[in-house]
């Protein structure tokens, strides 16, 4: 093996990027080449020592500063959109010259005359659309609540899917979804409820509900899905219910291992 190739393979081996076959080949090569083996062993030791480097915990002040920065950025973004309206009005004031004003006046008179002379008195559609949209949302919410109470798992699943279509979900629907997650007899419906709730994890009530749901779950797949979700959210409050779950005797061994590793990732 050439020097550079040896260096590359060694790094791949140490970083765990070699396949099993390539690893065994490399080990075999080392057995037959004592000089390279000595070099490898000394570097492997240093590589291992790097894991012992102690890094202190980050302070709470760092979190406070970050979220302040984020809040300022969000406020600035909101102001920017109002800034656009202001910019438009200043642009309009620039146009406010006698010639332009006269032109606009003429157009307005023309439009006004046209409006009064027109026999078609159709009104603007916009308010109606808003009302219709609101009504659709309300009907959809009712549909979700009704479907979630049906005895057929298929219909309940449909109910959860309908919930995904609601843009501004209200507390009633969230509570119904959480209740489904805690009490539904069908695993697929419970999993779908988690998927639907993931859309609203920004709301404290949803996060709180998901954490409380951990203790109610008996199905391994639901437990594992919740664990993955909590890791993704880095939700520290979920550690206690997970630990309680690990202590219970009935828990599947592989789920137990999974939960332990999830707790580690959250900490």
């Amino acid at each position: 093996m050439e020097k550079e190739q040896f260096e590359i393979t060694m790094v791949e081996y140490l970083a765990g990027e070699l396949t099993q076959t390539a690893s065994s080949e490399f080990e075999e090569y080392l057995k037959n080449n004592p000089v390279q083996r000595a070099e490898f062993e000394s570097l492997q030791q240093t590589w291992g020592k790097m894991d012992e480097a102690v890094v202190p915990e980050t302070s709470e002040a760092m979190d406070v500063r970050f979220f302040e920065m984020l809040h300022i950025a969000e406020t600035e973004k909101a102001n920017k959109s109002t800034g656009f309206v202001e910019g438009l009005s200043s642009f309009m004031s620039l146009l406010w010259r006698p010639q332009v004003a006269y032109g606009i006046l003429l157009v307005a008179i023309g439009l006004g005359t046209g409006y009064f002379m027109s026999t078609n008195t159709a009104q603007s559609d916009t308010p109606n659309t808003v009302v219709v949209d609101n009504e659709t949302e309300e009907v959809r919410e009712q549909l979700v609540l009704t479907l979630l109470e049906q005895p057929s798992a298929n219909q309940r699943l449909q109910g959860v899917n309908e919930a995904n279509k609601i843009e501004k979900v209200d507390e009633k629907v969230i509570k119904a979804l959480l209740q489904t997650l805690n009490n539904d007899a069908n695993v697929n419906v419970r999993l779908a409820a988690i998927e639907a709730l993931v859309n609203y994890v920004d709301k404290p009530i949803v996060r709180e509900g998901l954490i409380q749901a951990i203790g109610h779950q008996e199905s391994p797949i639901v437990q594992v899905t919740l664990a993955d979700l909590m890791v993704a959210l880095q939700e520290k409050k979920s550690i206690a219910p997970f630990k309680a779950l690990i202590r219970s005797k009935e828990l599947d061994t592989s789920v137990k291992e999974k939960l332990e590793s999830s707790i580690q990732q959250i900490i």
Partner: protein
């Protein structure tokens, strides 16, 4: 769960949902802090630099395409932040001899307040301090379990093979310095 991957979250931030940066922060703050801390052994400065990375990610969110891994993009930003910090503070970005460094460590208490006393660091961390920053950097990146060498190469802007050779040589240097310190 697809909507919660790093890439999906960053694309949401790019689309204007800035709130999602909070989740990315919670997920990566420790890793970034560890990276900076191993580079400068100063917790206070490292926290500032973590903050700078996220400020910059917000500022340059339009450059995130979602094609590569988010961690590679994030560490590329972190690397630039670190480099700018060195440049701004006029700290030399090159390797020093062990004897020279010893002198600097004794002398720099006023200018680099917050640096943890030398004896509190493990021998290996002290040895790290003697390495050139670019060598320290590649060793830190290779130790991250989440990053493959293809991504590290992307961060460093070199070929994958080159990144591995660099990592090997940095490790060798670290070993040499470590042995030198151990003999004392």
């Amino acid at each position: 769960m697809h909507s919660l991957t790093d890439n999906a979250l960053m694309l949401k931030v790019k689309a204007g949902d800035l709130d999602k940066l909070g989740l990315l922060y919670e997920r990566h703050k420790k890793r970034l802090f560890g990276f900076f801390y191993n580079m400068n052994s100063n917790a206070m400065i490292s926290e500032d630099l973590v903050q700078n990375v996220f400020v910059r990610m917000l500022k340059y969110k339009h450059t995130f395409t979602g094609d590569g891994a988010f961690t590679a993009w994030m560490f590329k930003t972190a690397r630039n932040v670190n480099y700018d910090y060195y440049k701004k503070n006029k700290i030399a970005f090159h390797q020093k001899e062990v004897s020279e460094m010893e002198y600097k460590l004794q002398d720099s208490t006023d200018t680099e307040k917050g640096i943890i006393a030398k004896d509190k660091l493990s021998l290996l961390q002290q040895a790290m301090g003697y390495l050139a920053p670019e060598k320290r950097e590649i060793l830190m990146l290779s130790k991250l379990k989440e990053m493959k060498f293809s991504e590290i190469a992307e961060v460093l802007g070199c070929s994958e093979g080159n990144a591995k050779v660099k990592a090997h040589r940095a490790l060798k240097d670290l070993r040499t310095v470590f042995l030198q310190l151990e003999k004392r």
